[in-house]
Subunit: 334 residues, 2 copies
């Protein structure tokens, strides 16, 4: 397995923690203006990456919150969306067609639009009321943590947010440590691959790690590795997909430390008895230096993605299938 | 292909239309008591079957509405759930573990629980404030149409509901006609199967047909036929899964006549150019006698499922894989 580029990891983490003030300021402005509910919307992997925040708000707060798929929202509508709604969107390129379109659609309804983009002056950032550019720094989920954390603090739902946010200064060390500690599970996963085979695999998760796990299956394994996946919520797994598990069927679990952990444990107990290929990506195995026990679950999605990233880069190397090759995505008009 | 059992179809439809009054009465009682939002929750295929009603309310009404997976809801919580919430649940057996548990959990929060069960005096019906037993009559989705339709009428969002509900008296004829008109697509789908192969297939849909399509993939093809499926929302398809499409990859679209139809059409346009195996289950191809054009989309989920049922029974015959065989589901403790 390739060594990690520590310098790049540390640099990205520092750039993100430096944006704490910018995100908190937006949270304060939004709070001051007043709002009634919180929408997370974006296309594909970006919505998946925002979904943990919806779980966080649901679990910690009394603020009504929900997610929507942009293309569907624009034709179906949602009566909860009013001029008292705050919408959070993200797009790395800042020009994802449906995400830009829904931002405009929301603006027309008087919604306050907050976005996080990887490009300055992108179409998405231009249409937003508030936008922060994270350039190429990862994991940019951190910006959402600052924004939502501060919003919940302002709402009286996360009193000690400052303590947690201060601890996030340890992010550079946490990320390096996580990358090192992910080698074992990455190698275990890759060991199940026959490089010639387009293997079928089942991915499950729940709560605030469901989004990233869904994204690992769709935006990485399907889009970038052309591997056949089924992603299914850990609770839903028991209502059909379980019948697909048998010897030599790869089952992967993306497990965090939030309240839904028992749902994933149930999948693990079942899979242990019915396949020889079970891989559990569990953030509990990470040391996560400098973060109090009670905040760990809030970092589960971010750190799970780091485990995934270590894994898929290794997989791409072993399979000699470059992560950047696409047949269709953003190469054709559709 | 086997002939349909017309007598059974007509008998089931008549039993369901006879329950119109019971469902409308519950809607009236719930309206009179007053409520602020509407939750649809149940496990697996039952939640999938309820999800079209959430789409219906979002599109037609100003009532806030949302869905939740029971096992996740009970550990994560949702601040929108209060004693002013009406929850709708369904379970054929009436004893689905998570569904019964969440009904009790909701009752503790003062939520008004409405359920539809296929068994009288089931655990779910007993814990509900209002429950209707549909016995073995199908498609029992009709009960939800009566309940939600009347609720929206009471709320001022569906003035001509009575006209639509009166037209539903044509259900026996509609179902027989739909079964007859589904033979072509059922045979087309089955023609792509090599009986020896556990083929991989992609299923997409959106809006009010997404739930049933997701369910066709998980609760039928996975659970009852042990076939490998990926179900993906039509909008999400373009953010990863599209890369999986190539010659000899089966792509199926569950298409209705609601506002999200253009999302499915986009998948079709793409798939036509990249696979020789595209099957479109389109309710627009059905005659649906006695139903006005403007109401057809409300029946899309129900009639799509009839098309699916015709298809999977035929598939099971051809593959000689009995629909009732399970390895694990409800056979093991897990």
């Amino acid at each position: 397995m390739k060594d990690i580029n520590k310098e790049k990891v540390v640099d990205g983490a520092k750039k993100l923690t430096a944006l704490r003030g910018a995100m908190e300021k937006i949270a304060d402005q939004v709070t001051e203006k007043g709002f009634e509910n919180l929408l997370f919307t974006s296309a594909g992997g970006s919505l998946a990456a925002l979904s943990p925040f919806c779980e966080m708000v649901k679990h910690m707060s009394t603020i009504p919150t929900f997610t929507e798929i942009p293309a569907e929202l624009m034709v179906t509508g949602n009566p909860m969306i009013t001029d008292k709604t705050v919408a959070v969107l993200t797009s790395k390129s800042g020009d994802t067609k449906e995400t830009v379109a829904v931002a405009g659609w929301l603006k027309e309804k008087g919604v306050t639009v907050v976005s996080m983009c990887g490009e300055a002056d992108s179409p998405l950032s231009k249409v937003s009321d508030y936008s922060v550019n994270y350039a190429d720094a990862e994991p940019h989920d951190l910006l959402g943590i600052y924004f939502v954390g501060k919003l919940l603090q302002n709402h009286g739902d996360f009193e000690d947010y400052n303590v947690f946010a201060d601890q996030l200064e340890n992010l550079p060390e946490i990320l390096v440590k996580t990358a090192e500690e992910s080698v074992g599970v990455a190698e275990e996963y890759v060991s199940y691959f026959d490089p010639e085979d387009k293997e079928y695999q089942i991915w499950t998760a729940s709560g605030n790690t469901w989004g990233h796990t869904y994204s690992m299956a769709m935006c990485v394994l399907e889009e970038c590795q052309w591997l056949r996946t089924k992603s299914v919520h850990s609770a839903e797994f028991f209502h059909g997909t379980l019948e697909m598990v048998e010897r030599n069927v790869l089952v992967c679990v993306g497990m965090g430390e939030g309240p839904t952990r028992p749902l994933d444990e149930r999948v693990i107990r079942f899979a242990e008895g019915h396949t020889n290929q079970l891989v559990v990506f569990d953030t509990k195995t990470l040391s996560i230096p400098g973060i109090d026990e009670k905040y760990r679950w809030l970092l589960s999605p971010v750190l799970l993605w780091e485990m995934f990233a270590r894994t898929y880069h290794h997989l791409a190397d072993v399979r000699k299938h470059d992560m950047d090759i696409r047949r269709y995505y953003r190469r054709l008009n559709y």
